[in-house]
């Protein structure tokens, strides 16, 4: 399985106002099958970093290595789930969306539909295989997106605030479901969020980032048994610790999370 190394990764944006550092010298590792959260407020470069790992952006300095090989562009070893519900193709059914990657790979129709149906079962949507995305709720669309990213069996799942646009109840359900999916598939997951409780609930390790410029401040391993209880004292202790690391500026933005469910 792939071990991911983030080595001195920097990205400087050229804007009309001058050169703006997006990410500055980020360094960390991700073990195979690890669930890693990138946590930080807006502008800390966490999404930029994820897009670099996904291969959508090229770093201006440093490199990403997956299984020892430097990343150049996107590849089927990484599946991506975005925040925007619109990521699904509206002209394809849920099943058609999930088969897309396999179709690009040239997997025969019957085989890819069998695989896709299994992925839909994993996210509990097999009954909606033939529904078009506009007939599905936001939470269901995001589940299809997860199934779609898993269908061609990438080693790594990259998720950019996939549940941030959902209501609080649906988000809690999604987090539980994702924890289950991760336990069953043992994928390496890199999950971007600005929600402290979400990070503590999901992650093996949290990489805390701070803005202006976007830098990695500290890595916090979450040593709690799963499934995790968001109301336990230890859980709340981790939240406090992360909030302390994020600093006073981030506190207002990062607390509106899971603590009250």
């Amino acid at each position: 399985m792939s071990h991911i190394e983030v080595r001195d990764v920097s990205l400087v944006y050229d804007t009309p106002a001058g050169r703006v550092p997006g990410v500055q010298a980020a360094n960390f590792d991700i073990e195979a099958s690890e669930f890693l959260c990138l946590l930080g407020p807006s502008g800390c470069g966490k999404s930029t970093l994820l897009n670099i790992i996904a291969g959508f952006l090229s770093p201006t300095g440093g490199e990403i290595r997956i299984g020892g090989k430097a990343v150049t562009g996107h590849g089927l070893d990484r599946g991506v789930v975005f925040q925007d519900f619109a990521q699904l193709f509206p002209w394809r059914t849920a099943l058609g969306n999930v088969t897309f990657g396999l179709e690009m790979k040239g997997v025969p129709k019957q085989e890819r539909e069998e695989i896709a149906l299994k992925q839909l079962q994993l996210v509990k949507l097999e009954k909606f295989a033939n529904a078009y995305p506009h007939h599905l709720s936001g939470g269901m669309q995001q589940r299809v997106a997860i199934a779609r990213a898993l269908a061609y069996n990438p080693a790594v799942l990259l998720m950019d605030e996939p549940f941030a646009a959902l209501d609080a109840f649906t988000r809690d359900d999604m987090q539980r479901l994702l924890a289950e999916v991760w336990r069953e598939t043992r994928k390496t997951v890199i999950y971007v969020t600005h929600n402290v409780a979400e990070a503590v609930y999901l992650a093996d390790r949290v990489v805390v980032m701070t803005p202006h410029p976007g830098t990695v401040k500290i890595e916090v391993p979450i040593r709690l048994p799963r499934p995790r209880d968001p109301l336990s004292v230890e859980f709340l202790e981790y939240q406090k610790e992360l909030l302390r690391q994020l600093g006073p500026a981030a506190t207002g933005q990062a607390t509106n999370g899971k603590a009250n469910d």
Partner: protein
């Protein structure tokens, strides 16, 4: 789409609603015709128009005219559709194509199609060939514009998703750009066919074609055959409506409306 769900009663109601304005206009027409405000020869009552319609249809004359016109329409529109979609996609995908075509298309589009007609006749002669070319040329503009807009409107996140799932450029084009731009392309084709239809009938009057609805109407003027002219106009309207309702509306229903990309 209420009629589809409401059953036979609803369908009848929908039909009555659609027919109602025509009944009113028809009644007014009859009134004016019978009052003798205009000479009957110039303003015939509806039954005479209907009689002309039946007579010309039975004799096979009207179908022949309609057939020739439709042939030119489809030939011209086919050229416009293929060329228009191709140019529109090129403009949407390539900066260079956009720089070349956009100024040309922006200048060409607002010029009324008929203005080109004398030029086409001098270049390509009278008859069907120049008519088809002109129809193709003029109706390509809305198709180009809409296709271009549609390709530009394809969401970046679809492209990224497809690339992340291993789509190469050809797959990206066929599986994402085309379906993503389809709502706009369909609108372009719909406007294109309407444009083709309008210019075609006019050019048939000018280009000395041997058959065609435009020629039928124009020719009938010589003999003050207003009933024939009205019969021809009626058929033109009927064909236009059929194309709209049974070709384009249906095409949209099966694709972009079903996908939630366009409201029904």
């Amino acid at each position: 789409m209420a009629s589809a769900t409401a059953g036979a009663g609803g369908r009848l109601r929908a039909f009555a609603l659609n027919a109602y304005p025509f009944v009113v206009v028809g009644a007014l027409w009859e009134m004016v015709a019978r009052l003798g405000i205009f000479p009957p020869r110039l303003f015939p009552p509806l039954e005479e128009v209907a009689a002309a319609l039946v007579r010309l249809t039975v004799a096979g004359i009207l179908p022949h005219h309609a057939y020739e016109t439709l042939l030119r329409l489809f030939a011209g529109f086919a050229i416009a559709a293929v060329a228009g979609v191709a140019v529109g996609i090129a403009m949407g995908r390539s900066r260079r194509a956009e720089d070349i075509f956009l100024p040309l298309v922006s200048i060409g589009a607002p010029i009324p199609g008929v203005a080109y007609a004398p030029l086409f006749m001098l270049w390509f002669g009278l008859g069907s060939f120049s008519t088809i070319l002109l129809v193709g040329f003029v109706s390509a503009f809305p198709i180009i514009f809409n296709t271009w807009t549609g390709v530009k409107a394809v969401k970046e996140i679809w492209v990224r998703s497809a690339q992340a799932m291993g789509a190469d450029n050809r797959q990206l084009f066929r599986q994402v750009i085309l379906p993503g731009a389809l709502p706009y392309i369909l609108t372009g084709l719909r406007l294109g066919v309407a444009q083709a239809w309008r210019i075609l009938v006019v050019v048939e009057m000018l280009a000395a074609v041997p058959w065609g609805l435009g020629w039928l109407i124009f020719g009938a003027r010589e003999f003050l055959n207003t009933d024939v002219m009205l019969a021809g106009i009626f058929v033109i309207g009927l064909i236009g409506l059929t194309l709209e309702k049974h070709v384009f509306a249906r095409l949209e229903r099966y694709t972009v409306v079903r996908w939630g990309m366009m409201a029904s």
